[in-house]
Symmetry: none
Subunit: 189 residues, 4 copies
DNA sequence: TATGAATGAGGCTTCATTCAT
DNA sequence: AATGAATGAAGCCTCATTCAT
């Protein structure tokens, strides 16, 4: 692994564990077993590291969104499936997501990164609403707000899962909750 | 206003405006027009101030929850009404809520405070689900998870409203989203 | 002495001894027997200290210039007298002057401070040239350039005296050199 | 051009533009399009580069001094001519001179280099004073101090020209100033 | 109670220099 | 000769906290 990647991955672990402010350049260097100066050969500033993590994450999520859209193009996709892909993504990228969830209050740039993430998720869910309606699965709902509602629900789910692991997982019920709200009455008899 | 309350209220404004980390004891003292030393006569530490704010907020929310329960006891209460009370509370306590929303990643103690808040809201929504079911308005749903889902939805709503004011308000649609999921099919013909 | 003055005077000594860059906040604090943080209670930055020293010096030189002008107003003043006042000023403010002489290459602000000092001295010498001419002592010379030449001569004198103390003092001859160039031929037979 | 010369010439440009302290080995390497390590194959330290520049400059000035002396040996040389050669030298070596003028406050070694330069110029001017007196052009003056005075005048002229280019050029008047002081009264009727 | 100067640990960052390749 | 990643000491500055008044 390159030194840059080592820094990135160590920082990711540390930020998700203790938060951006409590990760210092000194303890990052120590944990990555490099010198403090080396950090600055690869990144312009401590904030730059955070930005890189967010950008990389953004790309990863874009890939997920694309694959979801591809599946929609192939035929009907159930809410459970859509949500399931997201839960799998969440599990595979827990550290990144924890960082994203906390990043909005750190810098203006990171607040924008999180807004971008919300927007991407909203747009995907909106596409799904259109797709589901066309396939006769979902009722007609206001697209933009409902997409945002779903993204919002998802964000909260992640946050609780990651910050309060002691709370029982309720994702199954959350999916059910959304299914009830979105599917056509006749569709769930 | 007592000096202690002055500090508390000034700190509340500052934290909600710039965040806990960017509020320093120096600029808090300056803005409250007191000396830095005085802060430490009333609070043990900077973190203690945050804890006091969270505790005070908790009491306020308890009062809201009690009044909601009192209204339920008097007769049927619509989702719109319940949510409406919360939105009003949100508007009246924007600064506190912004602090609560950001506090969970600062200290373990504040993480617990937010968990307590989530739990209180969940419990209230759970009570509402029971109440609504008894009144023939709501369908039968798993109580604990659904209460959590509603609380979760609400949290997200607040966060977006407070941190991304540029995003169009979607609370009406969110209420509608929940109504569709929770009310009995025959109830919304 | 106030802490601020202590810092100022210690910094003055150190900068004149080792230069601005080799005076660090750490060794300044140590020599002044205060903590490093204390420096920043009294000055915004290390550069701010330098600026204060230059500003204070500027005021001191203005006072000298005023007193010289007052003496001119009272009657004829010889070059020796004018220069003598300056030499006395130099001896009394050696540290400041050493700082001024080195400051032009540090910051744009300090470069301007030195330009201001040069300009003040030039203006005083120019006034002297007018005064001397009116009193029949001095020949007619281009005022602005000659004022600058005298200031320039003086600066060099100071620099050599302060940085190369091993070089024999030549101020007497310098005064004589200027006298020959400026006084009317008949006046020095 | 050899790598060593490339480093030297790039460093010269940079130091004269931004100063020794603000030229870093990193940006020197970048501008010269070599690696940082290469610098240390040719020079012992960053300071060593400065020393080389000063030494090279010293040789150049020695050549000028020699050519001036050669011209004196051939017959009478006017002050204007002597000064003119120096002004031309200054224009042709502006970067070097800017470095020399700023170097005395950096290191003891560079302070001595500048002393050497002053001394060379002083000696040349002293020779000129003897030559001028022998040719009946110049009056008798104390040789060593007057040589130093002329060198001193020259240094100031250069400094102002290089650091405060906004100030009107006054070299013509400076030459005139010196001429008045040095030439015999009867010689300038 | 209140003050505010002082503290000092620790944060982020820079940079001349080294060294394995 | 050249590279360029790595080093680590040191620089400037911040800030929560203390304490004499």
């Amino acid at each position: 692994m390159s030194t840059k990647d080592l820094i990135l991955s160590t920082a990711k672990d540390m930020i998700s564990e203790v938060g951006f402010h409590k990760m210092t350049t000194a303890n990052l260097a120590k944990r990555a077993d490099i010198s403090e100066g080396t950090i600055y050969r690869h990144f312009e500033s401590k904030e730059d590291i955070l930005q890189h993590i967010l950008d990389t994450f953004d790309e990863k999520y874009q890939a997920l969104a694309e694959s979801c859209r591809a599946r929609m193009d192939k035929g009907p996709l159930s809410i459970e499936d859509l949500m399931g892909s997201h839960f799998a993504f969440l599990d595979a990228n827990a550290a990144d997501i924890k960082i994203v969830l906390g990043a909005y209050s750190i810098l203006d740039a990171t607040r924008r990164s999180m807004a971008r993430f919300i927007e991407r998720m909203r747009a995907l869910f909106e596409d799904y609403l259109v797709h589901g309606h066309e396939n006769g699965i979902l009722r007609e709902v206001p697209l933009k707000p409902t997409g945002l509602i779903l993204a919002n629900m998802f964000f909260g789910l992640m946050r609780i899962k990651l910050y309060w692991p002691e709370i029982d997982d309720f994702s199954t019920e959350a999916v059910e909750f959304c299914r009830r709200s979105l599917t056509l009455p006749e569709a769930w008899k």
